[in-house]
Assembly symmetry: C2
Homo-oligomer: 131 residues x 2
Amino acid sequence: MLGSVPLSAPDSAAAMKAKSVLKTRFRILSGEVIALGPGKVELLRLIVETGSLRQAAVRMDMSYMRAWKLVLIMNASFREPLVAALRGGRTGGGAQLTPAGRKVLALYARMEKEATRAVKRSWTQLQRQLK
Amino acid sequence: MLGSVPLSAPDSAAAMKAKSVLKTRFRILSGEVIALGPGKVELLRLIVETGSLRQAAVRMDMSYMRAWKLVLIMNASFREPLVAALRGGRTGGGAQLTPAGRKVLALYARMEKEATRAVKRSWTQLQRQLK
DNA sequence: GGTCGTTATATTCTGTCAAATATAACGCGT
DNA sequence: ACGCGTTATATTTGACAGAATATAACGACC
């Protein structure tokens, strides 16, 4: 038995420093409603990727209805809609970002990068306090 | 009727540009659990301010139990506890931040400032897209 | 030793948000 | 005309996070 690790589950917490992750997130409020946040942004990304609101919803493991409501809120919150949808046709239709949508998505991504960079030093210090 | 505003509720959305607000928030994951986030940080702040977990909970309009559970998670996630509680005594006891707690709180606040600053330009651009 | 306000903890209840479900409409191909 | 896959929308169902409730323990002071 020499060399065996005594009495600890495979994934035991003993001396296991859990990997720590920083998520930098923005929430944009327009009045009371959340015009944009991490979830809505991810949805926008997946709409670009899939060209379909339904498929984007599936990818996010959420109901189509929820995804659709998020789009409603976004479109109502900005000066111009971010998502344009078509229905009918051979493929049944689909959804894509408007120019405004692409712009907003790009700006949000830029903000994420800027913030992550600005915070890096403090984060490594904070990380030292974690288990 | 000249000059009267025709048929609009006092708070009507007609031409009302809702005030837009950016919330920069961090979520710190230690493995699966959220070691720190906006809610827990606010709780820390109110513990400093009130010296009592119960009073802090009331201020945040949450149950004592919830506040207490948040503290449990925080204390378990960091190398040293962030909150120290006493019970008994004339005043019934109380809670305060440990040195580690104060340090973590300060670092989080610093990160908020750094991120807000770094993002300012992009945010004003994004804001222009909002209603 | 009794009171007071707090921390500490388990158990039950409930309000809310999202999932499920159902239905309609759309329009290009065949 | 019909089928297909999508968008669009209302209504019902359900899960679960957090609230409520209850109870105990603590310890300084009178």
